[in-house]
């Protein structure tokens, strides 16, 4: 599939650039870890309450680190009008969208790989057993966040105060992902399995699929004046 080949090509370039400059990854990682400490100071986290609050706190941290990543998403293209270079090339604009979305998902995934265990350690949660399943749910939440986030990052690229505008425009639209991810994580933490949170999972997957297709179709209009 040509779309896939082009997406992987662009993704490889973005990852290589990130490896060279590693601006986004470092800032996102430290910001995530920093938020954990801030949570510790701002909430009275007795072990009993922490497992109840964990989903909300974790997801709040990932939401903000993700937004940080989104605002840096097109920085690599800023120098030498490289965005025009990509738009001029024979690639499908949907591939550009997919590559940028996957890039931010990879960044957020790496941050979560470190921050979640750190959360378990810092707040001494009882069992490590639900962690892999939790990570899968958070990954699905990432996909939803990055899909919509990439579209809106491109839309607000040329706006003034775009770092402020992006979260303002993005967060209200993220309500389904936020609610669904937190409900699923709560069910996993409390009962060890999804159970009655299954409809939330379907909603989350539905959200990801819908806006992935919408993104691929609409991205051509996003980057064109």
């Amino acid at each position: 599939m040509k779309l896939l080949r082009q997406t992987l090509l662009l993704l490889r370039k973005d990852l290589l650039l990130e490896l060279r400059r590693h601006e986004s990854l470092m800032t996102m990682f430290f910001f995530g870890a920093l938020l954990l400490f801030v949570f510790n100071f701002s909430f009275e986290l007795t072990p009993a309450r922490v497992s109840e609050l964990a989903p909300g706190l974790l997801w709040l941290a990932f939401l903000f680190t993700g937004t940080l990543g989104l605002t840096q998403l097109f920085e690599g293209e800023r120098g030498n009008h490289c965005l025009d270079a990509l738009l001029m090339s024979p690639i499908d604009r949907g591939a550009l969208f997919l590559a940028k979305t996957c890039f931010n998902i990879v960044l957020m995934g790496l941050v979560e790989l470190v921050v979640m265990p750190l959360f378990w350690i810092l707040f001494s949660l009882p069992s490590w057993q639900p962690l892999p399943a939790l990570f899968l749910i958070v990954f699905l939440g990432n996909v939803g966040f990055c899909v919509l986030g990439t579209i809106l990052a491109a839309v607000t690229l040329k706006a003034r105060a775009r770092e402020l505008l992006l979260p303002l425009v993005l967060f209200p639209l993220m309500v389904p992902v936020i609610l669904a991810t937190i409900r699923c994580m709560e069910a996993l933490l409390r009962f060890g399995e999804l159970g009655e949170a299954l409809p939330w999972l379907r909603l989350l997957i539905g959200f990801d699929v819908i806006f992935l297709t919408v993104g691929i179709l609409i991205f051509d209009w996003v980057v064109d004046v």
């Binding site: 919509l148 607000t156 040329k158 425009v169 389904p176 409900r183 409809p199 996003v222």
Partner: protein
């Protein structure tokens, strides 16, 4: 839309709106008897339900305007989206105010995370984001296409937001009979229904009346920009 008939048609629309508003006020406040359950505070419903529908209607118009603009790139469609959003924000905000005032005597609190109030609040946030985006992008045609994308994405997201908020609500708040969407419509007193119907028509007419003026204003702004350009 030729100027002359436009003015005449707006005149008729304006007159009809006024008639229905007065009828709505009279019917809602005086003629209709107080509701069996909630007493007189139910009269706020005559405003609340029409404005919610207007809020959704304006979001739909923003969606239509955005799609047409992306497809044909005509200023007219962009103008429609912008006008619908501006008036939509007003009615959405009023819906929230009405909802919380209605909630005060019934639940004893100014704000409850009731599904419908939360939903309207999210709608308001999306509208505000839409208008902020338009304001913060300087380049004229880029602002129009960016707003169009957000208009489409926002509209597609509404059903998902709707589902998630309602599921979230059924989880926490025990269903109370007094919740607006639980009102038993069948044995409602006919007078109340007529009051609601009249007010509904009044609001729709008012909405399109204001919209037509706002569209005209949009056209004039375009005209001014065109004149300055030449």
């Amino acid at each position: 839309m030729p100027q002359v008939t436009g003015k005449k048609r707006k005149g008729i629309l304006g007159a009809a709106t006024l008639v229905f508003i007065i009828a709505g006020l009279y019917w809602g406040l005086i003629k209709a008897p107080p509701d069996a359950y909630q007493g007189d505070s139910q009269r706020i419903m005559y405003l609340h339900i029409p404005s919610i529908l207007i809020a959704y209607l304006s979001f739909f118009l923003v969606f239509v305007g955005s799609c047409l603009y992306l497809w044909k790139r005509e200023k007219r469609d962009d103008n429609l989206a912008h006008a619908a959003a501006e008036i939509g924000v007003l009615f959405t905000a009023l819906t929230i105010i009405e909802g919380s005032i209605w909630g005060r005597p019934t639940w004893g609190v100014w704000w409850t995370w009731d599904a419908r109030l939360t939903l309207t609040a999210i709608l308001l946030l999306i509208f505000i984001g839409y208008l902020m985006l338009r304001a913060l992008v300087e380049d004229e045609s880029r602002a129009a296409s960016s707003a169009a994308i957000l208009g489409i994405i926002g509209f597609l997201d509404i059903p998902l937001i709707h589902m998630s908020v309602y599921w979230w609500r059924t989880l926490h708040q025990p269903p109370s009979i007094l919740r607006p969407d639980k009102v038993p419509w069948e044995n409602i007193h006919p007078e109340l229904l007529t009051a609601l119907a009249i007010n509904f028509v009044a609001f729709v007419l008012l909405y399109f009346y204001m919209l037509s003026h706002r569209l005209r204003l949009g056209e004039m702004h375009e005209e001014i920009k065109a004149r300055r350009m030449r």
